[in-house]
Amino acid sequence: MSIVDLVLDTGFFAAAVRLAIPLLFGTLSELTAERSGVLNLGIEGMMLSGALAGFGTASATGSLWLGVLAAIAIGMTIGAVMAVLVVNLRLDQTVTGRGVSLAATGLVFYSYRLGFGESSTPPSITPFSTIPLPFLSDIPVIGQVFFNQYALTYVAYLLVPALAFFLYRTPAGLSLRTVGENPQAAAAAGIDPIRARILALVVAGGLAGLAGAYLNLAAFGSFTFGIVSGRGWICLALVVLGRWNPIACAAAAVLFGAVDAFQLRLQASGAVDLPYQLFLALPYAATLVAMILNAKRAVGPAALMQPYDAEHR
């Protein structure tokens, strides 16, 4: 089988979309935070917490949708904690974000061990099944790729235009973008930058939690320690690639879903005799290369990583 054959069927593209969705939720999450001027390095921890909260709730109650809600709730909670730290207390965003991710990772693994114990076969749940959308799924090729997916995937599809509309067509979206560019000017115009950033982080947390929920409630059906494994960090890069625009970010996420699907297929096919770790490195390498190629054009919100102090204008 040649390498070209690997990508020339609908199964490949459907897999690319499946792998892109958690990145898409995560990227929209990061985008929301960064548009308000906050770099959210807590995203990795938020995604992982969402994954465990979703899995724990779903296996305790038997309801996948309650799991989704729990994942969103835990993400929003961590978002609020992050907001108190970096918005109210104006702590350094980079270091705080790492700290939040590290603490969340430790707490998630710790509670998983307490809750589920140590067993050789990880407990699993029956994940969401795919729902073919009437009519749309009958379109040749595209239908099977895009419209025979999980319900959460359709939520992700809707979120992209919704967020774009919010950012570019509503007063609240304009306020958020202004806070990210110049919080002092925003304050002068009567916008409360602190409130805007807190809200942005809480929403970002909810979206990151949703990304985590998708990973085990739709994609895998069980919780493993490597379930997020750096996907949060990839989302940070995808926001840069998508130049802080929801539509372009979605395209970047789908592209990286495809890179991920490609490396999985290449590994499985045995067409190329290379250590599998090189394939695992591929998404990160591709991200870095894309960031370099995109460097000149990618200019982020002007006030990104700058804490806002209401009393120093």
Binding site: D92, L102, R113, P275, A281, D309
Partner: protein
């Protein structure tokens, strides 16, 4: 209701107590976690303290803490310590196995090679930042994963130990193993290197133009530019120094502990160094107690987990909580925290 942080009067006592308070607060939180796991927190902390002192983890943590310190001072967000430690370890493992080198040169060359490898890897995100404006937070993170998988690929393929066939590199030569100062301890040459590095970094930061330039660039790049400083060069220098220090941490692990490159050569030392640097309030001398404390958490958690059944993931949680607690404490020592219900007005003097 709203939290407002306001500048506070300087108080050296409060400054000095700050890391202590932060550590106490995080221990308190972790005590609750240990209680939840059904163990006695006091027993658990006791085991951690006993297991940890002079533990083998202190040396790499001192060096990676210094690496983070140099970078953070200059506001070069080097999250890539982990990758730089790995390439340093790879370089040391490679040099240490060279039979073509005269034996007295092995150890110096291992150290130099590791420092160069770490510096070279740090130079990538640094020049991407200064030339193209690529954000170093993301690029250093990506490089960590790339380097980690690359090493694993090498270890499972071309660099596999030909004798055992296991996924680690061939052992370094006997002559390349770092001398141990006290028999039966882990106090090897790498520990000495770490302590020397504390002195060197302390002098650089406090007594040299480079150190002062790094501080100015970190605090206010615009002012630095106005003062005629070459911000690009200072940033590059900080990145190279930071990477070299991280690389040395990798050399210590190879020459003093593992004697061969293994996949888990740096289990989070690079990330832990950031916490160490903050706990030390970015002072070189403070790195030593900070690294010992973090070593206590990590080695101690392993031992504690074995004896009490508390999941050892508590180490990560403790580190993260401690990192945040230190940041909060740093802010509390500089600012007063007020809860306000009314929209804020300008502070009356």
């Amino acid at each position: 209701m709203r939290l407002v942080a306001r500048p506070n009067r300087n108080s050296p006592l409060r400054d000095a107590m700050m890391p202590v308070a932060a550590v106490a607060a995080s221990l308190l939180i972790c005590a609750v976690l240990i209680l939840l796991a059904g163990a006695n927190p006091l027993t658990a902390f006791g085991i951690m303290a006993k297991a940890a002192f002079w533990g083998k983890f202190a040396a790499p943590l001192i060096l990676s803490g210094l690496a983070a310190l140099v970078a953070l001072r200059t506001r070069f967000w080097n999250i890539g310590g982990e990758g730089q430690i790995i390439v340093g370890a790879m370089a040391a493992a490679w040099v240490g196995a060279l039979t073509s080198l005269p034996t007295p040169l092995l150890i110096p060359f291992m150290l130099i090679g590791a420092a160069l490898a770490g510096a070279a890897l740090a130079a990538v995100p640094a020049s991407l930042k200064t030339r193209l404006g690529v954000d170093e937070v993301v690029s250093t993170l990506m490089l960590n994963f790339i380097v980690m998988y690359l090493m694993q690929a090498l270890l499972s393929g071309p660099w596999k130990d030909p004798v055992t066939g296991w996924t680690n590199s061939p052992s370094i030569l006997r002559a390349a193993e770092f001398p141990v100062f006290w028999k039966g301890t882990r106090l090897h040459l790498g520990v000495l290197v770490a302590f020397l590095a504390v002195g060197v970094v302390g002098v650089i930061m406090k007594r040299t133009t480079l150190g002062l330039s790094m501080k100015i660039v970190g605090e206010n790049p615009r002012a630095a530019r106005h003062a005629g400083l070459d911000v690009t060069r200072v940033t590059l220098a900080a990145a190279l120094l930071s990477g070299a220090l991280a690389g040395l941490a990798g050399a210590g692990e190879i020459g003093g502990i593992q004697f061969q490159a293994i996949a888990s050569i740096s289990s989070g030392y690079g990330y832990a160094g950031i916490g160490g640097a903050l706990l030390a309030r970015l002072s070189a001398a403070g790195i030593i107690p900070a690294a010992l404390f973090i070593a206590a958490i990590t080695t101690g958690a392993d031992e504690m987990s074995r004896q009490t059944g508390v999941p050892f993931f508590i180490a990560d949680a403790m580190q993260g909580i401690c990192l945040i607690a230190v940041l909060v404490a740093m802010t509390l020592s500089r600012y007063q925290i007020r809860f306000r219900t009314s929209p804020e007005r300008r502070a009356t003097p």
